[in-house]
Symmetry: C2
């Protein structure tokens, strides 16, 4: 059989879902075109580390062409998909079209600001390399500015850092930021009274990492407070002008830094597909991950809306994306072989969140851990999952170094 | 004695000269303020490695506050000096002024385009982290674009890379780029016929690295040619519009990439100082490095114009800057002690240039080396000189990895 005649699988998005699907099809009788607007896969769970100057982008991003160098049935194409014609079966890129026999939509998510334009304009987010680096540059600049500010009130505003959202990213970011301040900035800015620096974590509800079991939520709160993060519950943001945060209860917080981690929605492209969207702009898919009416199209990861057995939507997590990418690839193989499609069932592998140096909370094998043991599990798992041996080694050296010397060494302020 | 009463030394610029001066004054009875527009020291000799995706910025840049964490008589201030009042003895920063008793001007150099606006606008340079990263992003994008370009002529233009200037930076960049193409890109772009890619090195004169002895210049040319760099002598550029290079002899080269390494001049600030400038905008200094008429001001490094014994200006090299930084610091100490100023004398430590993987040329202890031995000397010296143990370790791992696996792993295209 000529390879030209093999079914053509187009995968849009090289996040966890797309990457896993592409790998699962390695030895399959298909031609694959993988499309992404970046030329790298990003290990998003560690992106907050870039924002707090703990890692550099190259440690958590890996060039796709390198990943797939040996997978001969795959071609990578860098580009942004602008639309999909589900009837004519092609995707449109800036400037070209790619026809498909099977399509996996794995376009991921983006930050949801719930219509708060003032936050979108003046706040920071941790969604891609660029926004994480921008956050890092800003954080470090605030310390430089504060170090030459004579007015105490102004200085305190510069050194007040507000993180919004009590999910895993908010918890990890605020915890790591508090540690950066107390262990590193304290030494590097001897001209500052570091007690003027505050990290606030604002959560609209009444619990952190709401999907975790109660004992872990409590352990998380305790660990954060020990690191001097001020956690405020029931804190609903109404406005942020870059100078002060306004809460629904009238509280005003003077700050130049607001990091928004309180919302995720499916990537913008999903709006232009003309398909039925469910909550957070996610594309409603069948239990088999197929797009209703278009059985050759599979929707996976953050962009897919699928309910769990209990009627709850599956969370936007890397573990869900990885399992769905694999499942979609396997359903494509079944379709090629004329076999019946298999419904997707999510297997919860447990929960893990870190709260800075040597502290984390974890729920694995039905057991809850917190503190150092959870942190060691977290480090082990993350380093294992980071793609590429050299990256693993680099991250390990970085972490070991930081761990022993409390020394983050990537505090470069670059111009954007 | 109250530390407030100690003489205040202001050092402008944290390149090799400023950094060395600051360190030399570590235990001296002075207060030091070090000013730089970046918050890091950049190891510029390896900057071309960032441009060809061999290293990431954090491997060659080191935060100044970390470097000087233990030097209690030094304060760092991030900011751009806009002018100096030599009579009233203060420097003006954006927004503030700093008075000095002694001033070391170590403001470094910038790219000299010799009035060729078309090259400044459409070409790339390797002068700071931002320009090196921009060059890297552009190089990688050209390969992505070429990989989906059906027209051969257009594709060849995308894959033609022109480096201008046969000095060390031009030699190192073109050699490393040729290697990146033949060892890495060849594997990552199986859809491309890599023989369509060309690296040209244009030199207006008739020799590469003109200041080196004849046998090394010849060895350099041979090594470059072996790596498939097309070296053109007597090639004087007249115009570059982003699409094609025009040479004085009428030759036209179609390319989207021109990397300009053919000129350096003193940093722009020197123009606004109202002092006598010599060649390349450098500030003419006395043999003691003092500014004529202002004995408390010292000019060092690329920004200083000083002639050698033989009437030639000292070259703009890190070795000169390092020695001058130390000499200026020592002359300040002599002035404080009421001792006579000592004229600066440059001790040539030898020459070194690398031409990609396992090839370099060196002139040390009166001996000429080329090939692997010169490369090993180069690697050893550079890793030794890179500031900070962790950075050294990271660079070493990176290089060892690349060396054994021909694998550059930082080929990320980031948005600027």
């Amino acid at each position: 059989m000529n390879t030209r005649e093999l079914p053509h699988v187009v995968i849009v998005g090289a996040g966890f879902a797309g990457l896993t699907a592409a790998k699962r099809l390695k030895n399959a009788p298909v031609r694959i075109t993988l499309v992404d607007r970046n030329n790298y896969h990003l290990f998003q769970p560690l992106l907050y580390q870039v924002a707090i100057a703990g890692l550099v982008p190259s440690q958590i991003a890996y060039p796709l062409r390198t990943i797939f160098r040996k997978q001969k049935n795959l071609t990578f194409q860098m580009g942004e998909v602008t639309s999909v014609d589900f009837d004519a079966k092609y995707v449109k890129l800036n400037g070209s079209v790619i026809a498909y026999d099977y399509l996996i939509l794995a376009v991921g998510g983006e930050t949801e600001f719930f219509g708060m334009e003032s936050v979108r304009e003046n706040g920071f987010q941790i969604k891609d390399i660029e926004s994480a680096v921008a956050t890092r540059n800003h954080l470090l600049k605030m310390f430089e500015k504060a170090s030459r500010e004579a007015d105490e009130e102004k200085r305190r505003a510069m050194l007040t850092f507000v993180v919004v959202g009590g999910g895993p990213t908010g918890v990890e970011t605020s915890g790591a930021l508090a540690e950066l301040i107390s262990h590193v900035m304290r030494k590097e800015y001897p001209e500052l009274d570091i007690r003027e620096a505050r990290v606030l974590l604002l959560e609209a509800g009444n619990a952190l990492i709401a999907s975790y079991p109660d004992e872990l939520r409590k352990a998380t709160l305790k660990l954060l407070q020990k690191k001097n993060v001020e956690v405020k519950f029931g804190a609903r943001l109404t406005d942020y002008n870059g100078q002060r945060v306004l809460l629904a209860d009238g509280t005003e917080i003077r700050t130049h830094t607001l990091i928004w981690t309180a919302g995720v929605r499916a990537a913008g492209i999903t709006k232009r597909l003309g398909v039925e969207a469910a909550g957070s702009g996610r594309v409603r898919s069948a239990a088999t991950l197929q797009l209703p009416g278009h059985p050759e199209v599979y929707v996976t990861g953050d962009a897919a809306y699928l309910e769990n057995g209990n009627g709850q939507p599956l969370p936007m997590l890397s573990t869900v994306a990885i399992q769905q990418g694999k499942a979609a690839a396997e359903n494509i193989l079944r379709a090629i072989r004329g076999m019946e499609q298999k419904p997707f069932r999510y297997k919860d592998p447990g929960l893990l969140a870190t709260i800075g140096r040597n502290a984390a909370v974890a729920r694995i094998w039905g057991l809850s851990f917190s503190g150092l043991l959870a942190w060691l599990i977290w480090v082990g798992l993350h380093i294992y999952r980071i793609i590429g041996f050299r990256n693993r080694l680099m991250v390990l050296i970085n972490w070991a170094w930081e761990y022993f010397f409390y020394d983050n060494q990537v505090r470069l302020i670059t111009r954007e």
